[in-house]
């Protein structure tokens, strides 16, 4: 980073840094909850979590918070994630492998299309 001379350069740094700061505060548009109970972790939830974070990063999505939770009681379909967007009922997806996580984010979060073959439950747990 060289010397800063203009307001535009300042603005650029501000926006870049805000992205990081924004991640601290809850996402503005919604959240993805990854179930990280012992069962979920055993089924590979850690890799799922990583995939979720990496995919959001790849697609430059910064208004979705990623949160971990405990076991949702859906052990047989772990790893599970819940996608809760502002103003929509939360959707719980099961058997979320890293590949599936990518698919869910691209389809549900970016295009607004639910991934029906993975849905295990609609609405509040």
């Amino acid at each position: 980073m060289g010397k800063i001379k203009s307001l535009e350069e300042l603005m650029k740094i501000k926006e870049e840094a805000l992205k990081n700061v924004k991640m601290r505060e809850a996402g503005k548009r919604g959240k993805i909850v990854v179930a990280m109970g012992t069962c979920g972790i055993a089924a590979g939830a850690k890799d799922t979590l990583k995939a979720v974070v990496e995919t959001l990063d790849e697609l430059n999505i910064d208004d979705i918070a990623v949160v971990q939770s405990g076991c949702m009681g859906l052990c047989e379909v772990e790893p599970t994630i819940e996608v809760a967007l502002e103003g929509e009922e939360p959707i719980i997806y099961g058997r979320v492998t890293p590949e599936n996580a990518k698919r869910i984010i691209k389809s549900h979060i970016v295009d607004g299309e639910l991934v029906s073959d993975l849905i295990v439950k609609r609405g509040e747990v």
Partner: protein, 607 residues
């Protein structure tokens, strides 16, 4: 920069570091590595979050959950439970009023929600060692505005219009000070930041330097531009190593970005800042002594005028502002003077940071609008007394200040109203006193401080404060007379009128204000040999109530001088002559059988 799921903000203010923040951070990092989460969970060390009595503390985002009183073990548990499984660790959540568990206190707890943060806007929120985070919160935008859109005169006008007054204690209008330095003839000028915070119990300047060093750099550069200085000095005391370390790093970053050095932001204004480390003499907070110290001379004040604005560092016009004053400057320039004036009172606009200490539940730093009442500050934000004992008074303004009794707690806190009560805002130290605090002893404590810190240059302060201290010592030992009180008062006024600098001129204040409001306590000491607060050791005795004593021997076992005798299951007695009145026995007695009495029980000499 990969995206993160959680960000952990851990408080790395001085108090939390002392309480073991580093070991907590190490435990977090170790545990996160174990679970391979180190890339997606970010740990940020911030400045002081203000709730020092609960440290070490941390906040976990995105939820914004506050954890308090952390240990490495708890940190490991939080990683396993909270970070990994999303289960909140209840045992270490922030506990608000009545010990209720409140995961996200920012909105609900008065300690956080009543605050308005201007000077401490970034402290505890950003990573102080990351200039980008400072910029993200509008940092250096004010500098850009000042250098590229305003003339130095316009900058000064904005500060004048905002009504900002010196937060170091004197309350002198900052804009006016800048104007004097601007108009003072001379081609070499200096901008100095006074970070020699010396009041016992005040630590807001340290916390700002540790938690938001860039705000000081930006403000000094703006001030340098306004007064026409080419060089700045930050005078910090050596007792603030963390502040010095972080400020040094911040200066380096600011130079890299071109906010300091030649042709700042591409303009033809050049300015740089150097840190000067002081040896921690209280008198060096006085501006002329501070300048002598920077010049490498002995830190002693000189007669004013000439004021620093006319003849300062090495005889050149200089402008000196305190840390907290400066940290208010960038937002004022950025948002305009009217924005600042929406808080506070007409004569004291804006906010003030107070350091709450003493007999109050939430000790720490709070920034509140001026004009808030003492009652709100002590009871609503401070949470009142931790023991349920009656709060008697509050001591404000450190060794230059005075006490304010409870009956005046509805007074709004601003420069004028506290002065009219015989106290001062000072740098914002507030020590809450309850019925266990003896006012003579409080006065003695501050006098002892000024005797130690008097530089010795002028006689009234050097000799007079010592004399006053000796009289106070005599009174607390029960040997005082009523004439002593008169002498004390006389001395106080003479020292006030004839001392060279602010240290001596204000040193008698603690004595005068306690004499004004608590003369009866002084009289009880000299007339009856009583200490109403049961604090002065020479005037109290510890006695055992034979009705209540069950003979458990706990007190006898804990007594360091073995002055308690008695058999098991028999009433114990204290040998008054051997007793050193340390109070250990009261602490261990589970039956409430031991109490303090005043005046002291006279020891009967055995035949």
């Amino acid at each position: 920069m990969p995206l993160t799921t959680n960000t952990i903000l851990i408080c790395a203010g001085g108090a939390c570091v002392s309480a073991g923040e580093e070991s907590v951070k190490d435990a977090l990092e170790r545990k996160l590595k174990e679970y391979n989460l180190q890339d997606i969970v970010k740990i940020v060390e911030t400045g002081c979050m203000g709730a020092c009595s609960l440290g070490p503390i941390m906040v976990i985002y995105p939820e914004g959950v506050y954890y308090q009183k952390l240990t490495p073990e708890v940190a490991e548990k939080i990683v396993e439970e909270h970070i990994l499984k999303g289960r909140i660790v209840k045992s270490h959540l922030y506990k608000g009023e009545k010990g209720e568990v409140i995961p996200q206190p920012q909105e609900e707890v008065a300690f956080f929600s009543r605050q308005v943060k201007i000077a401490t806007r970034n402290v505890g929120v950003i990573n102080p060692l990351d200039i980008d985070e400072y910029i993200a919160r509008d940092g250096y935008f004010a500098l850009h505005k000042a250098l590229k859109e305003m003339t130095p005169e316009e900058v000064i006008q904005v500060i004048k219009d905002s009504g900002l007054r010196g937060r170091g204690g004197a309350g002198f209008p900052t804009g006016l000070k800048w104007e004097f330095a601007r108009k003072s003839p001379g081609d070499k000028k200096y901008m100095i930041c006074n970070a020699d915070e010396g009041d016992p119990g005040a630590f807001m300047d340290r916390s700002i330097l540790e938690g938001d060093p860039h705000s000081i750099i930006e403000a000094m550069t703006i001030a340098g531009y306004a007064i026409g200085a080419q060089k700045g000095f930050v005078y910090v005391r050596a007792e603030y190593p963390i502040a010095i370390e972080r400020l040094t790093e911040a200066l380096k970053q600011a130079r890299e970005y071109g906010f300091l050095g030649e042709n700042i932001l591409g303009t033809d204004f050049s300015f740089d800042i150097e840190i000067r480390i002081g040896a921690g003499a209280f008198v060096c907070g006085e501006e002329t002594a501070l300048m002598h110290s920077i010049e490498g001379k002995r830190g002693q004040p000189r007669v004013k005028p000439p004021f620093p604005a006319q003849k300062g560092l090495w005889g050149n016009p200089s402008n000196i502002n305190n840390v907290e004053t400066l940290s208010c400057v960038p937002p004022i320039i950025f948002h305009g003077p009217q924005w600042f004036k929406q808080w506070g009172t007409e004569k004291s606009p804006g906010t003030k940071v107070f350091a709450l200490a003493g007999k109050v539940k939430n000790t720490g730093l709070v920034e509140v609008p001026m004009g808030i009442t003492l009652r709100e500050l002590i009871y609503e934000i401070g949470g009142g007394s931790p023991t349920g004992k009656k709060i008697k008074a509050v001591q404000t303004g450190g060794p230059s200040g005075g006490v304010i009794p409870a009956e005046y707690f509805d007074t709004p806190v601003d420069f004028e109203s506290l002065t009219s009560l015989g106290a001062i805002i000072g740098s914002g130290g507030m020590i809450v006193l309850d019925e266990d605090d003896c006012m003579v002893d409080v006065a003695k404590f501050f006098l002892e401080f000024t005797v130690d810190e008097s530089c010795g240059k002028c006689t009234p302060c050097r000799e007079g404060t010592k004399k006053m201290y000796e009289i106070l010592d005599k009174i607390t030992n029960g040997e005082g007379t009523e004439e002593d009180l008169e002498t004390l008062e006389q001395l106080a006024y003479i020292i006030k009128d004839s001392s060279l600098c602010g240290l001596g001129q204000t040193a008698p204040n603690p004595v005068l204000s306690t004499l004004k409001y608590y003369r009866e306590e002084y009289l009880a000491h000299v007339r009856e040999g009583k200490c109403p607060a049961k604090k002065c050791k020479e005037l109290i005795s510890y006695v055992i109530d034979p009705e209540k004593c069950v003979g458990c021997t706990a007190c006898a076992r804990v007594c360091p001088v073995s002055c308690i005798s008695g058999e098991v299951r028999k009433v114990h007695t204290i040998d008054q002559e051997a007793c050193i009145r340390c109070g250990s026995c009261i602490e261990v007695c589970r039956f409430g059988a031991i109490s303090k009495v005043t005046p002291a029980v006279s020891v009967e000499v055995e035949e």
